[in-house]
């Protein structure tokens, strides 16, 4: 009489375990996303129609950034700047590759997000919502929301700022 019951319980435990494992698997799936760090936007003066957004993106699997949207700008584009013989070259790009696990930085020296035709002045300290669309190799799209903090117009980029600060003290 007891044996089938025990068997039943065992089966139940197995089911629970399987459920638990699949839940862990699902949460792993949730974690397997593109991480965004240090998102910031350069503040503007009144009447300035565009600004840039900067951040570091790390995708967990090979992906690409397709587009960015923001309620503060009518047009958002991804641009790439490069320096050759002290000439700053600027161009629009359609997407940016995000190799698995490799942080890709969007900074004043390379890729950056252009917020154009701004609807209002961006003031220092403002939180600017950005929606990023990332697509993985299988063509699955993921949208990520981030709030970028507006830093002063005269903010130098990260690396140089720390550099100079260390020298200033």
């Amino acid at each position: 009489m007891n044996a089938p019951l025990a068997k039943n319980r065992f089966a139940q435990r197995c089911k629970q375990l399987a459920l638990g494992l699949s839940l862990i698997g699902m949460s792993w799936q949730v974690l397997a996303q593109t991480q965004i760090e240090d998102a910031w936007v350069r503040a503007t003066v009144a009447g300035q129609p565009s600004s840039g957004a900067f951040m570091t993106l790390t995708a967990s699997e090979d992906s690409k950034l397709l587009s960015v949207q923001s309620p503060v700008a009518k047009t958002v584009q991804i641009h790439q700047s490069s320096m050759q013989d002290d000439v700053m070259k600027m161009q629009q790009v359609q997407s940016v590759a995000l190799p698995a696990g490799k942080p890709v930085s969007f900074d004043p020296h390379g890729y950056h997000i252009m917020l154009m035709n701004l609807t209002a002045q961006i003031k220092e300290g403002d939180k600017v919502p950005l929606t990023l669309t990332v697509e993985n190799a299988k063509g699955e799209k993921e949208t990520i929301q981030v709030e970028a903090v507006a830093k002063a117009l005269d903010t130098m980029d990260h690396s140089k700022m720390t550099h100079d600060h260390s020298k200033m003290n």
Binding site: V45, Q48, S51, Q91, M116, K160, D164
Partner: protein, 201 residues
């Protein structure tokens, strides 16, 4: 405040300074800069005639007695322009009292979109002493050409951005072109070379 090395430069540079007064100021003497490019033998940027944000005509001669540092850009520039202007403001501070003679001048390459009001607000956000100049499209092109500054419109969607030379050009107080500062230099490196220009003239 240890980086305000103007006193040290003054003391150490006394000899150099007197030498400079004798030999310098004619534009032909070579300078040795630690970080920037010596442009003493280049004849560039002598004849520009543009307007400041108050509508006054400005030429190189308008800045006699000051040390003009000229940078070309546009206010919709997301990266190199604000970074370079922020660096200029920092270098000016690092130079201490000598920095008062540094006149930073921002010349717009985008006069179609950069209105005088916008330009004024923009440069003064970095330092209240900074000036912005603008001209017509023709005057802008002529000025850029005079400095050997490359710029071109790059269409992006229904608007455009600009590619352009990002060098800062420094003149001595007599209007001789002296120094070219690349964007790769730090504020402190710029300040050191700017003080070298000052020692001579």
């Amino acid at each position: 405040m240890s980086t305000l090395y103007t006193r040290r430069t003054l003391l150490q540079g006394m000899g150099l300074l007197s030498l400079g007064l004798l030999a310098g100021c004619d534009g032909s003497s070579k300078l040795s800069f630690k970080y920037g490019k010596d442009l003493s033998d280049k004849i560039m940027g002598r004849n520009f005639k543009l307007k400041d944000t108050q509508g006054e005509t400005r030429m190189l001669g308008s800045y006699r007695g000051m040390m003009p540092m000229i940078f070309f850009g546009f206010t919709q520039c997301p990266a190199v322009c604000p970074t370079t202007l922020a660096r200029a403001a920092q270098a000016k501070k690092l130079m201490g009292r000598d920095g008062e003679r540094l006149q930073v001048i921002f010349i717009t390459l985008d006069p179609e979109r950069d209105t005088p009001e916008l330009l004024d607000k923009y440069v003064k956000a970095f330092d209240p002493s900074f000036e912005a100049l603008y001209g017509t499209l023709e005057e802008t092109a002529a000025t850029a050409k005079e400095f050997g500054v490359f710029f071109e419109k790059v269409p992006s969607g229904d608007t455009y951005t600009l590619s352009h030379t990002a060098t800062s050009f420094v003149f001595d107080s007599r209007g001789n072109l002296r120094l070219g500062l690349s964007t790769s230099l730090t504020a402190k490196e710029c300040a050191e070379d700017l003080l070298t220009v000052m020692e001579v003239c």
